[in-house]
Symmetry: C2
Subunit: 404 residues, 2 copies
Amino acid sequence: MPKVSKKGLLMPASPIRKLVPYADVAKKQGVKVYHLNIGQPDLETPKQFWDKLKSLEMKVLEYAPSNGIESYRKKFAGYYNNIGIAVDASNFMITEGASEALSFGMLSCLDENDEIIIPEPMYANYIGFATVGKINVKPIPTSIENGFALPPIEDFEKAITAKTKAILICNPNNPTGYLYSKEELLVLREICLKHDLFLFVDEVYREFLYGGKTFFSALNLEGMNEHVIVFDSISKRFSACGARIGAIVTRNKEVLASALKFGQARLSPNSLGQIAGENLFDLGADYYNGIVAEYQKRRDVLIEGLNKIPGVFCPNPGGAFYAVTSLPVKDTDEFCQWMLEKFSYENATVMMAPASGFYSTTASGKNQVRIAYVLNVDDLKAAIKCLEEGLREYASFKSDALVN
Amino acid sequence: MPKVSKKGLLMPASPIRKLVPYADVAKKQGVKVYHLNIGQPDLETPKQFWDKLKSLEMKVLEYAPSNGIESYRKKFAGYYNNIGIAVDASNFMITEGASEALSFGMLSCLDENDEIIIPEPMYANYIGFATVGKINVKPIPTSIENGFALPPIEDFEKAITAKTKAILICNPNNPTGYLYSKEELLVLREICLKHDLFLFVDEVYREFLYGGKTFFSALNLEGMNEHVIVFDSISKRFSACGARIGAIVTRNKEVLASALKFGQARLSPNSLGQIAGENLFDLGADYYNGIVAEYQKRRDVLIEGLNKIPGVFCPNPGGAFYAVTSLPVKDTDEFCQWMLEKFSYENATVMMAPASGFYSTTASGKNQVRIAYVLNVDDLKAAIKCLEEGLREYASFKSDALVN
C-alpha cells in the first residue's frame, strides 16, 4: 500500500477544527455547544450581498480572470482609497480567502528552508501554509502579561539570519486581539529596510477596533512599496466567511507577477463571491460603526467575565474579535476535549481552540486558549458561566491537571 | 529590494492564459477573438443552479466544513452510485475546483524530489501543482500519430525509479481528448500494484464521450482501493467553471486524512458553489445526452475542418472537448501570439493554447496547439476558416517559420 507523504504527516491539524468530531458527538447527544473556537461571526451577511445573488441574470457561470474580476478589484481599490490608502485595481490579486493569499504570498517570496519571523502566539494556519512550502517559521515570543505587544527590536535582530526573508504580523492580531501601533510598525519598517525583508501584514480585521483606537496600515509605511505585502478578505468584515474571497495587496509588481502564476495554475477565484461581494464596498460608516459597537460590547462582556473567574487572566484586546486567555489548567488540549466529551452545564458546553496550535514552539501556551467572541452578549454570558463551571468541575477531580 | 522566490520564478505561466494580454489588446481594437484557448464551455449553466441561488433564505454565509458540506457530498456520492461506482459521502473531500484537489492530492502523497509519471502532452497545470511541492514530473511521450494512446508498459517500467510515487493520467484526456480504454487502465493497475504506486486519475471529463464509446473509472479497478485517487469537478460537466467546486474521491482514508489537514489550513471550500451545485446531481440522462450530442457535433466539425487545412493533422478524440493538432509552423508560441497581435480575417482572430506548455520536456510539441471546442458550430466554422487564413498569411511572409 503506497504511503502518504512526510509533508502530509507533518502538516498540522487545525487547532480550531481538530476538536470538531467531539463537538459533533456532543451535539448528537443533545448538548448545546457554544462555538468560541472559530472566527465565524454570527452577524448577518449584509442584504446587498444576497440581493445581488437573487438578481443575477447570468447564463453561464464562467471562470473569473486569474487575478480577479476587474470591476471587483476597482471597487475594492475604492474602499482602500476611502480609508486613506493609495492603491488602484492593479495592486490587487483576488484569491480564495486570505488563506490562499497568504499561501501564494509565502510561495512567491520564500523558498524551501527560508525563514519567516512571526510573533507568537500566531494564527495557526500560518504554520500550515509554511509547511506546504517547507518554509521555516521562526517564532518570536510575546507575552500575555503585556497583552502580546510587539517584542523589542533586539528580539527580531537576534532571530534574523541569512535565510530570513520576511516578517509576518497579523494586525489587529488573530489570535490575541492585539492592535499594533504606528510606532510598532515603524520599528518593523526599520528592521525590514535594514535587512531587506518582506513585511507581510494580515489586515483582515482592520475595521475591528475598540475604545476609539485607530489603525495604521503597513501600506502607508514610507519607502516600503517593494517590501509590504498585505493580505485581506471580505470574510470577517462582511460576515461572509463562506464566500472565500480574499486578496493580496501590494505595490511590488514582481510579487504580483509571481503570485499570478500560482493563481493561473488554479485558474481563478470563485466568481459568485466576487460578483455578489462587489456590492459590499458600497457600505458606509453606518455599517462599520454598527458592527464595531456590537463587537466592543461583546469584548467588554467577555474580558470582564473571564477575569472574574478564579485563576483566569485575559488581557483586554484592542481589535479583531479574539482573545487569548490563560486558564488554571496544565493542558488546554486535554481540557478543551474534556469540555466537549465529558462536561455539560445546563445541557450546554463550550468549544474553544487550545492555544498550543498557535505556538510553533512545542510546549508553549499550554495553559492558554483562543476565544472568538462571535456570539451575541446573552450567549457569550452563558458560555462564560459554562466555562467557569467547567473549570470548577475539572479542578474538583483532576487536581493534578491544575497549574501549581 | 527583497527578491521573489526561486519557486516563484520557476513557476510556469499558464499556456492557456499567458496570451491573454494580447487578446485584450486585439479586443480593444475591435477585433473579435474566438477563444479556443480555454476550456470554458459556452453552454448554459443549468437552471437548477441559478434557481437555488435565487431562492436562498440564508442570513449568514458561513464557512463550510473543511471537507465540504455533508448534504453535497451525499448527493455527489449518489451521482457516483448511479454511474456504477460504489462510494459514499465519506470517500469525498470537496475542494476549490479539481485544481485544489490535484494540489492537495500531490502534496498528500509526494514529497520534494519524489517523482510523478505523466504521459505527455499533459494538462499544463499539473506541472504547476508539482512545482509548488517541488515534485518532479517525469513525462512519458505519447504520439500524435496514434492519437496519443497510452504508451507501452515498457515505457513506464523504464521511467520508474525508487523516487516514483505515482502515475497521473487525465481520462478522457485534457489536452488530447484521448479516451483510455479499460484495457489500458488494467495495464496501469498492473504497474501500480507491482511498484506500489498511487494511480491519480483526473476524471472531470468522464461524461464527454463520443461515437458511442464507454468510460471505465479507475475507482472500479479491483484491488486498488488504497492506490486510486480520483479528481473531479462540476466545472465542465455542468458548465459551472466559476463555481470552483471539485473533489478528491478515494477509498484511501490516510490520503483523505492528510488532504483534510491541507484543507483545514485554508478553512473551507466556498459555500455558494456547493449549496447551488447540490441541485445539479438531480439532472438525468436527458441533460447528459444533450450536451454530449452538442459536443460531438462540434468535434466532428472541428476535426474535419482542421484536417482539410494543408499541413494540419489532428487525430479524432474520443472524449473531453479538446484536441491537440499539429500546424505547419515551427513555433506555435510565436504563431499564436502573431495571430492575436498582427492578424485578423473579417475583423476576427483565433486564440489557441500553444502546446509547448503541455509538455514538461523543453522543445516538444513546438508545432502543436491545444484547441478547446467550446464554441457553437457556426463560430467554430468561422474560427477554423480564420485559422486557415492565418496560416496562409503567416506562411506567405514568414517562410522560415514553416516546418519543411
